[in-house]
């Protein structure tokens, strides 16, 4: 991600373009998911991981969860994929911060996090995703974590 120059209004609008484009794409995708109900089996195809292994991966249920969130049903969304329900607000906040900083011409959002957090972040994400995948399939936890 390149940092736009800081004193130039057209450049700052250009800097805002990327978050706005991404935001528009995500909003469009959310609209599709909200309108086309993923609860019906097969509307969106089938997840290869589920097909091959028979187990839900970390993302299983997130289309259904997004649909439920778009309709305001947070409890239903939580049943589908609790990790996703927790992640969505974080992503939304991060996008808003990105947009605001891009408009103001400030530096990349990554600068807001201290260096050690930034360096450890990918490993944390990997551990959380893989850990959630494993935990969802533990029979004792499956009712809570799996769709």
């Amino acid at each position: 991600m390149t940092t736009p120059p800081r004193t130039d209004a057209p450049a700052r609008r250009a800097g805002a373009r990327r978050p706005l484009q991404l935001g528009a794409a995500v909003a469009a995708a959310t609209l599709v998911v909200a309108l086309v109900d993923p609860h019906e089996q097969g509307r969106y195809g089938i997840c290869p991981f589920l097909l091959v292994t028979g187990h839900p991966c970390a993302a299983c249920g997130c289309l259904r969860a997004t649909h439920d969130l778009a309709h305001g049903d947070v409890a239903g969304a939580w049943d589908m994929n609790p990790l996703w329900v927790l992640t969505v607000p974080v992503l939304v906040v991060a996008w808003v911060v990105w947009l605001v900083r891009a408009v103001r011409g400030a530096g990349p959002v990554a600068e807001l996090l201290p260096r050690r957090v930034r360096a450890a972040l990918p490993w944390v994400v990997a551990a959380v995703v893989l850990g959630f995948t494993v935990l969802r399939n533990v029979p004792a936890l499956a009712p809570v974590l799996a769709p």
């Binding site: 290869p48 028979g54 993302a59 050690r116 360096a119 490993w123 994400v125 893989l130």
Partner: protein
């Protein structure tokens, strides 16, 4: 040179600690800062000389490929290659192309950062790119096979099998 302030040999006979008002606590350590009589080569302005002042770059795990963040001063973009590797692993294990294609893209920008001198973990970026490609190609092959196999049975049959919750039917 053998003034009473020399802290060289505190245990020598006749060298009374406190002579001249400078008791040497440890051999070799300047007892006070800024003493002009201290003839040792280290000027005391450098402070506590017992710890190596040049310790920070030596602890730098950047040599291991840029993992956690004593983020050395010259390599701000080391995290790109780490993201590439993580996305590649996740793509390989679970997410397939959805994570593998970003792994390739981020790995590419990590490689550019290495070329620009802003990162030093090009090996990790290569690993992420390779995992990303392998995962992408396997996903595409899997997708093609999926459609081929489904065509042999018929989509309706497949949908019935899924909706019955039984994922173990083989074709």
């Amino acid at each position: 040179m053998s003034t009473p302030n020399e802290p060289q040999d505190p245990y020598a006979a006749g060298n009374q600690p406190g002579a001249g008002g400078q008791p040497p606590q440890y051999p070799g350590q300047p007892p006070q800062y800024g003493t002009p009589q201290y003839g040792a080569p280290q000027p005391p302005q450098y402070g506590a000389p017992q710890a190596p002042q040049y310790g920070a770059p030596q602890y730098d795990p950047g040599q291991y490929g840029g993992t956690p963040g004593y983020a050395p001063y010259g390599y701000p973009k080391n995290s790109l290659a780490v993201w590439s590797l993580v996305l590649g692993i996740l793509g390989f294990v679970a997410c397939g192309l959805f994570s593998a294609i970003p792994a390739i893209i981020v790995g590419g920008s990590a490689k550019r950062a290495v070329a620009a001198g802003q990162a030093n973990n090009g090996g990790m970026a290569t690993a992420g790119i390779i995992l990303g490609w392998v995962a992408t190609i396997l996903s595409i092959i899997g997708l093609v096979l999926f459609f081929v196999i489904i065509n042999s049975v018929g989509w309706d049959q497949f949908m019935d099998d899924i909706q019955s919750g039984d994922y173990t039917t083989t074709y």
